[in-house]
Symmetry: C2
């Protein structure tokens, strides 16, 4: 088999945040597969075939991509952000492991990208400046008990926390439940940042505290950052504050 | 003041992994400041001034950059990977908070980039496919007790773990100590990946297990990934295995 499959991260939104390596992978593909809004971000040239799909059929989309590659096509699976972070890459490898043996012999590559938490952090300063963790609040594929356990561990060890997939129409209450849990474990003064459409042309952000944050202000395009004890605000005249996390600890006084 | 300061992530190594937005920020600068090897990755045009420095004087370098910007220069602070992840951005904001009041009025931007763990993950498959955390093993700025506490929390909640700064000449034993601790908390069969110079032209990787891993094979350019219970290998004929983390849980059997 001579087909190829590249899982390409197109970054968080603006085309200037897509790497040249990702652009080249897309330009070299005969077939582009992905969730429609991600495919809309790339310009096709004549002869390239576009296979748009719904956002919730990841394994099916992965198998479709692998089938095309096994037929000799050069396939790009187009993923938002970084394909390895709560995006398409894991689904493709799951499809390979559970699929036809010859799929393992295909030329499979992953093109990394700027994932949403990096764009969101850059938008407000440097809130990921210390140790941090990334948790998807979606319980489509894992239990809410596991999510709670991870939030508790992250709070207990004073990680900065990045929340992906904070809520959706089908899961409207999860971000609020996460905030309720974290309020029992972290100070009400903890810095919380909600960046919507990070890295896109219509970014917006809310900088608040764990005590004050309103989960109704988030939607499925929002990336939520919850600070550690070392996360601080720098006030500015007439502008929103900078948010950053000290590289050193503050537990012993500062 | 009309100066600007942009903290630019040049990505993990290959220039094709630097975003066009980062390239544009560098091209627009009058002055480039950074650790020499990162500055070596960018091409200067005539008239641009290069201020190279050692890797361990981050606050001093940040203050130099802010001073130049306050004098009206357009300064790019050049950082490897993503500037917000164990890199220069937090140092710049710390310098702003503790520095001259007028520095807060400067036009400060952060240009995100592909951080090392994303390039390392892409190199081997999709090991960051589930919830994960990123921990710097450097105890220059935090205590080893805090690092231990975070490793324990990450193991207990079954996060995938990305370790930055695993060791250095001044800290030769820390990665070995981290593995010793994690062996008490996680199965010996846990997948471990060590990727050296991820995202560069001379990348190399070791795919092994927590029981077998040799910390002496890592150096300061190595990114270490330690799997969760859902991290798996896909064997291939004549090629290294793919490594990925299932999006769903495996605790209840699979």
């Amino acid at each position: 088999m001579t087909g190829t499959l590249t899982i390409v991260g197109v970054g968080p939104g603006r085309s200037e945040l897509m790497t040249p390596s990702a652009s080249a992978a897309i330009a070299a593909a005969t077939d582009l597969i992905g969730y429609g809004p991600y495919l809309d971000r790339v310009t096709l040239h004549p002869g390239q075939i576009r296979h748009a799909s719904d956002n919730r059929v990841e394994l099916e989309r992965a198998r479709h991509a692998l089938t095309l590659a096994s037929e000799g096509r050069n396939v790009a699976v187009v993923s938002g952000g970084d394909p390895g972070v709560f995006a398409m890459a894991a689904a493709v490898f799951e499809a390979i492991e559970t699929g036809r043996p010859e799929w393992r012999d295909l030329d499979i590559q992953v093109e990394p990208g700027v994932t949403a938490m990096l764009a969101a952090a850059a938008d407000v300063g440097a809130p990921l400046g210390g140790d941090f963790c990334a948790i998807s609040l979606s319980d489509n594929l894992k239990s809410w008990a596991t999510i709670r356990r991870r939030l508790e561990a992250a709070a207990g060890a004073d990680f900065v926390i990045a929340l992906y997939n904070p809520l959706s129409k089908a899961r409207p209450h999860q971000l609020g439940e996460a905030f309720t849990l974290l309020r029992q474990l972290k100070p009400a003064s903890t810095v919380v940042v909600m960046v919507r459409a990070a890295g896109s042309g219509d970014v917006s952000r809310i900088i608040t505290t764990l005590g004050e944050v309103d989960p109704a202000k988030a939607d499925m395009r929002t990336l939520v950052l919850i600070g550690s004890t070392a996360t601080r605000l720098i006030a500015r005249d007439g502008k929103p504050p900078f948010v950053y996390t000290l590289r050193r600890e503050v537990e012993d006084g500062r």
